[in-house]
Amino acid sequence: MVRRVRPARVALNTGAVLFCAVWMFPVYWMVNTALKPTGDTLSPTPKFLPFPMSLANFADAVRKPHFADYLVNSVIVTGVVVTLSVVVAFLAATALTRFRFFGRRGFLIGIMVIQMIPGPALLIPLFLSMKSLNMLDTLIGLIVTYSAFVLPLTIWVMRGFLHGVPVELEEAAMVDGASRFTVIRKVLLPLVMPGIIAASVFSFIVAWNDYIYAYVMMKDQSRYTLPVWLASFSTNIGTDYGGLIAGSTLFALPIVVFFMLIQRRLVVGMTAGAVKG
């Protein structure tokens, strides 16, 4: 449409390149800093290329005390939250799409309203409850908290996908003598796989990225998750920026790679839910 007007096209492309440069700059600077040798990080004139390249900053970050604990904590919490929320949401979504029952509409409105509640608002009562239950400093406390936070959306997404699967398909399988369990496993599950992936991505991000709840609930240093560890970098002994940025890079890497891989699905899943409900 714009092709006829050349100056407009040039302006558009220039604008796009400029935008990319600005938006990409922080990420580029993160990788650039992380890969520099330790001495080059703190130079009055910044070096724009990480040569000579060095992994010293990464080694520095990984060798910080308890790093292995934090990694394990984060992996356990994230893994359990993803599994738990997907299973629980799948069961709930099956109930919501395959049955009509009293309270169904109320439940749907309920999970929508829950999403309007600001996350930080629940921090105080949750902290106090976990304290009186002696569940501060336990991974279980965090796991339960994150699972509850992701459930409304995961249920909603799964419900959307389950809706797309015609009931006739299951009925046909039942007529053919398949048990209800077989129907769920062999017919339903493969068809809603995209929904399961979308829900897991979402739960993964929430559990992996959360800072404030872990910060408040985990007082024992060895119980920190990776985000709390990253934020505590600066208070230890001044700030070791090389290590901090290398640590941030390591922490961000799995998600960035993952986002790139599922890029297409990410946007489709997001909007498929948005438009089709």
Partner: protein, 309 residues
């Protein structure tokens, strides 16, 4: 609470004849685990939040477990202090500036992506996803490094000497604003672009044949098509930006001199730094009420759209 994207525009389902009407306990059994977790971890704390806001809940209560009812004392303390008015104004301004900036840039990028060639578009998408994927805390730590007074690359690029961004209210707010907008634009741009690409091309062709220029086509086709998605991302942006905590807390700690303290940060400080959980809870209740009032129009619309469930 990351995305509510899925809730967008709920298309009423045609009376759902697909669902079974037989009465059985099975749906309740399937729903039980989810309902239990939600009731325990969200329902109960929500009730408790309101209760605590009417109690004198300080350090002593924390250790003895004994609390005293104080009526509206917490609310009075919060609402009658000198802080409340600047706090509300600041929270509103910060929220509007962040959401506004995100929406304007995000919409611009989405529209530009539509007009760009395939290769340029891929490049823009790549940059957006890279920025989007960086976890909150990692991005915030990166920001402290980019804007570090002595060795930060931004001060060097802008020839600002050893300027300390967190030492002045305006630059501290700008610092937080830049971070939040940088992180939020990708979601808005990609969601809007996905919406744009669902508009059938014939519409534009037909309009062009009728002699409609770019702006007319934009006004008559693009805007109405985009309106529901635009409404969704607007409400989401307002909710998220109202609740921004990590970025402020880790970049400025609410300073300098309370200059970047919003309601959410204030509630946190009162509760966890001043050990006055009652007042913190009162602020959280007020913040939630305020946010609910702001978004109630949208919630009502959603619930109405859900009449046919």
């Amino acid at each position: 609470m990351e995305t509510l994207a899925a809730r967008a525009t709920v298309v009423p389902e045609a009376a759902a004849p697909r669902a079974r009407r037989r009465r059985s306990a099975l749906p309740y059994v399937l729903l039980a685990p989810a309902a239990l977790v939600l009731a325990l971890v969200i329902g109960y704390p929500l009730v408790r939040l309101v209760l605590i806001s009417f109690q004198d809940y300080g350090l002593r209560a924390l250790f003895s477990g004994r609390t005293r009812w104080t009526g509206f004392a917490n609310y009075t303390a919060v609402l009658h202090g000198d802080e409340i008015v600047p706090m509300l104004v600041r929270t509103a301004l910060v929220c509007v500036a962040m959401a506004g900036g995100t929406l304007v840039i995000g919409t611009g990028v989405a529209l530009a992506m539509r007009a760009l060639g395939r290769r340029m578009r891929t490049l823009v998408t790549f940059c957006l996803i890279a920025a989007w994927a960086v976890p909150n805390v990692a991005a915030t730590m990166l920001w402290t490094w980019l804007f570090q007074p002595t060795y930060g690359v931004v001060n060097w690029l802008l020839r600002l000497g050893q300027y300390d961004w967190t030492a002045h209210t305006v630059s501290a707010l700008l610092l937080v604003w830049l971070l939040v907008v940088w992180q939020s634009v990708p979601f808005v741009a990609l969601t809007l672009y996905a919406g744009l690409s669902q508009i059938p091309g014939d519409y534009y062709e037909a309009a062009a044949l009728d002699g409609a220029g770019y702006w007319t086509r934009f006004r008559v086709i693009t805007v109405p098509f985009l309106r529901p998605i635009l409404l969704l991302v607007t409400v989401l942006s307002v909710i998220w930006d109202f609740n921004v905590f990590n970025q402020i807390w880790l970049l400025t700690g609410g300073g300098p001199d309370g200059g970047t303290t919003t309601l959410v940060v204030w509630s946190f400080r009162r509760a966890f730094a001043s050990q006055s959980y009652g007042q913190g809870a009162a602020i959280a209740v007020l913040a939630t009420a305020l946010l609910t009032a702001l978004t109630s129009y949208y919630v009502r619309r959603l619930v109405r759209a859900g009449e046919a469930w």
